[in-house]
């Protein structure tokens, strides 16, 4: 009885939200129609200007108008396409209470119990374990926000929540090759999902999402399955396996081979940010092994600086100056 009451309440909420969504769709059509109308008016104005320019042989002016028409035509076809997408609807009527109720009953048959959060006004289902190419991602919750339904054309009204997350090594927010920050990139399912929501086919909606989750598209993942177990280089973000990873002992972070090196003096592995290049021999050195020349203040390794704290050039310069000084003193004597 309690369950039945819950389904009735949910059906009413969803129906109400679908009415708002329909109104939002009609408003969007209205806006697009206004844009479309403006474009038509612009084209009509340009036609008159173009006719006048050609008749009066204002060739440069005519060419400039032609160029504007060309640009506007591109915009025009874009607007027309969007307009067509929104105005085309299937031969179905708005679902009624009985349809929505039947959808919810079917969803429970397909997915098990429907979870309803009255405070957040969300409904969720749980998928089984998702396994792609032998990598398990655990089950996912598909949480649909009833209040967000009317924003279908500007936002995604649902979240994909990893219930036993196995995120990509390099990026904790990627919990599935096609899910990042709880948002699914719908790919080929985009239009079918939008249609299912618009027509109140909620069971189809959840089924379509599940179908995307259980499919891997190697051409366009957030993180590919080949790189899933790896970690990401702190500097360039490249995914690296355990064997390719280098740990910088100075900043305590992991780097790829391209973004790390080792100190030629103490052999410690360091990242490029924690190392410097010796001004003398041009070899990388860590900050602990770096010495600054007292004269020129450049960084040198211990092999390129003497016990007086001078580099080879500054030492030579000092010797030269000292020699000149002693020569002058000798001459004066």
């Amino acid at each position: 009885m309690k369950k039945q009451k819950k389904l009735i309440m949910l059906s009413n909420l969803l129906l109400d939200s679908l009415k708002k969504l329909n109104r939002s769709r009609l408003k969007q059509i209205q806006t697009l129609m206004e844009d479309f109308n403006d474009k038509c008016l612009e084209a009509s104005k340009d036609k008159h200007l173009f006719d006048t320019a050609v008749e009066k042989s204002w060739l440069i002016g005519a060419e400039s108008i032609r160029s504007r028409i060309e640009r506007n035509l591109n915009d025009f076809s874009h607007h027309l396409q969007r307009f067509k997408e929104l105005i085309n609807t299937d031969e179905t009527v708005m679902p009624n209470f009985i349809d929505i109720h039947a959808e919810l009953v079917q969803t429970e048959q397909e997915f098990g119990e429907l979870q309803f959060d009255l405070k957040e006004k969300t409904i969720s289902v749980t998928t089984g374990d998702i396994v792609l190419n032998d990598i398990s991602f655990g089950p996912f919750g598909i949480k649909l926000s009833i209040c967000q339904l009317e924003k279908l054309y500007t936002d995604i009204p649902y979240r994909i929540i990893a219930l036993e997350p196995n995120p990509a090594g390099g990026n904790d927010s990627v919990t599935h090759p096609h899910v990042s920050d709880e948002r699914l990139c719908e790919g080929d399912g985009h239009v079918a999902i939008r249609n299912a929501i618009e027509q109140g086919r909620f069971c189809d909606f959840f089924t379509l999402i599940k179908s995307i989750l259980q499919t891997y598209n190697p051409d366009s993942p957030y993180v590919s399955l080949d790189d899933w177990q790896g970690r990401s280089c702190y500097d360039c973000g490249y995914t690296i396996s355990d064997d390719e990873s280098y740990y910088c002992e100075r900043c305590d972070r992991e780097y790829c081979g391209q973004c790390s090196t080792y100190c030629r003096v103490c052999d410690t592995t360091v990242c490029l940010g924690c190392s410097s290049e010796c001004y003398g021999c041009k070899e990388p050195i860590c900050k602990d092994c770096m010495h600054v020349c007292k004269e020129c203040e450049e960084a040198f390794c211990e092999n390129c600086i003497n016990e007086k704290g001078l580099c080879e050039n500054c030492e030579a310069e000092r010797n030269k100056n000292e020699d000149e000084c002693s020569e002058k003193t000798d001459a004066q004597v």
Binding site: D90, E91, T92, A102, V105, Q106, Q109, P177, H178, S180, L184, C185, E186, G187, D188, G189, V191, A192, N195, A196, Q199, R201, C203, D204, T207, L208, S211, I212, L213, Q214, T215, N217, D219, S220, P221, Y222
Partner: protein, 77 residues
């Protein structure tokens, strides 16, 4: 006779279609989804799973949903 056909493949659509009397759900699938494997789809009649030799009735609601759909990651402009 007419049935409501909900096709969630590709862009997806829902529409009333005419079929001849005695058409089974298997025959309907073969006509509408030529070259596809039924095992790659979730097929429901009036929201319920049915055997492949189920004979479609006037007013039935047939839903065909692929079990594999390729997602993507957004293409940055």
């Amino acid at each position: 006779m007419r049935i409501l056909y909900v096709n969630n493949d590709g862009s997806g659509f829902a529409d009333y279609v005419s079929i001849t009397e005695g058409t089974t759900v298997e025959q309907f699938f073969t006509i509408k989804m030529e070259g596809r494997e039924p095992s790659d789809y979730l097929i429901r009649v009036n929201r319920q799973p049915v055997p492949k030799d189920y004979v479609l009735q006037d007013g039935d609601r047939v839903t065909i949903t692929p079990t594999k759909i390729e997602g993507a990651s957004p293409v940055l402009a």
